[in-house]
């Protein structure tokens, strides 16, 4: 490439303006919380993700499962962030949010969708008991795996489900996060 061509390829202008968009089919934001950075996403006014997963993985999954028009737009998440912050400060016991389990498999949906009804604030239940309540008494292990894949963490309280021995067993956000949430609920 000669001098003129390289000057052309470097031709630029200052103060380039990023584009602005209408509300995306899937709007998401990264939200810092005491239990880590969470990716929050809504589609059609419903929460489709509240996750500890990384941005690239989660947005690719959302693009595939919901719509490729996925954009980082904090405004549509204002209500979700506010409720989450209230909950994490111990000032809220229930979420008033609609959830869409678009990222879940049919079995995960079966396990996760009624989780708020099968658990209660400040109490824990076990994988086995939950399996019995959704009429899959032999599927405690599969129930555990489904909870581990919860795309809408905290809002759907998979942290309230523990092993029958009392061991916390596992959590997408790490065991410290699970401990934090259970401590928070037992105090508030």
């Amino acid at each position: 490439m000669n001098d003129l061509e390289s000057r052309l390829s470097r031709l630029t202008a200052p103060d380039l303006k990023p584009p602005v968009f209408p509300t995306a089919d899937v709007a998401y934001t990264l939200h810092d919380t005491p239990i880590g950075t969470m990716l929050l996403a809504v589609a059609n006014g419903r929460v489709v993700a509240s996750s500890f997963g990384d941005e690239e993985t989660m947005t690719n999954r959302l693009a595939k499962a919901v719509s490729p028009r996925v954009l980082r737009q904090p405004r549509p998440l204002d209500d979700v962030r506010r409720q989450l912050d209230e909950y994490l400060a111990g000032r809220r016991h229930e979420f008033e949010l609609d959830v869409d389990l678009a990222l879940a498999t049919p079995f995960q949906r079966l396990v996760l969708s009624d989780l708020p009804a099968h658990t209660s604030y400040g109490r824990t239940t076990t994988y086995g008991r939950l399996a019995g309540e959704i009429h899959k008494p032999k599927a405690a292990r599969a129930v555990g795996t489904a909870l581990g894949a919860n795309p809408v963490c905290v809002v759907l309280p998979c942290h309230r489900v523990i092993g029958s021995s009392g061991a916390l067993t596992g959590y997408a956000g790490g065991l410290d996060a699970k401990r934090f949430l259970l401590n928070l609920e037992s105090k508030s």
């Binding site: 630029t12 303006k17 954009l71």
Partner: protein
């Protein structure tokens, strides 16, 4: 039967990777006055069309092509009567144009006939090959090559560059 669904990346990934290139190209194609507007329109069109895309390949050149078409539309809307190659130079009296890097080159590029300016800008600012330039300008790679070499010759004369 529904066509097989193409797996498109999240639109945000396109914005993050390419918005600067689109903005740069739009300024070079449409000048400082209309450039930002052209870039914004191009993104709106891309956003609207994105879910219906048949392929996830060459998304960058797809975006740059839309940008070139939006720049053409703006140009035509401004001067509905004149045939393309006789269109007068674009408006360059933007608020900061004099402070842009390499002002002599900007000036010389802006004075090129529209097709030449588009071809040379897509080739070098957009970093497209002649197939990409040709697709964006609805012409052939051979014609793109000719437009670019004519533009380079004019620029060399104007800028006194002997290469």
């Amino acid at each position: 039967m529904a066509p097989e669904k193409v797996s498109l990346p999240p639109f945000q990934a396109l914005v993050d990777a390419h918005w600067r290139d689109v903005a740069r190209l739009a300024r070079a194609l449409a000048g400082p006055v209309d450039g930002d507007d052209v870039a914004q329109r191009a993104w709106e069109k891309a956003f609207a069309a994105y879910p219906g895309l048949a392929s996830a390949k060459n998304l960058r050149s797809w975006l740059l092509t839309i940008t070139a078409r939006c720049a053409t539309d703006v140009h035509r809307a401004r001067r509905p009567q004149s045939p393309l190659d006789e269109a007068p130079p674009i408006a360059v009296d933007g608020p900061d144009a004099a402070n842009w890097p390499d002002p002599d080159l900007w000036q010389a590029v802006n004075e090129l006939p529209e097709r030449q300016r588009f071809a040379i800008t897509l080739k070098y600012v957009g970093d497209l090959d002649h197939h990409g330039v040709a697709a964006a300008l609805d012409t052939t790679p051979a014609a793109s090559r000719r437009l670019v070499s004519d533009a380079l010759a004019t620029l060399r004369t104007k800028l006194g560059v002997h290469l």
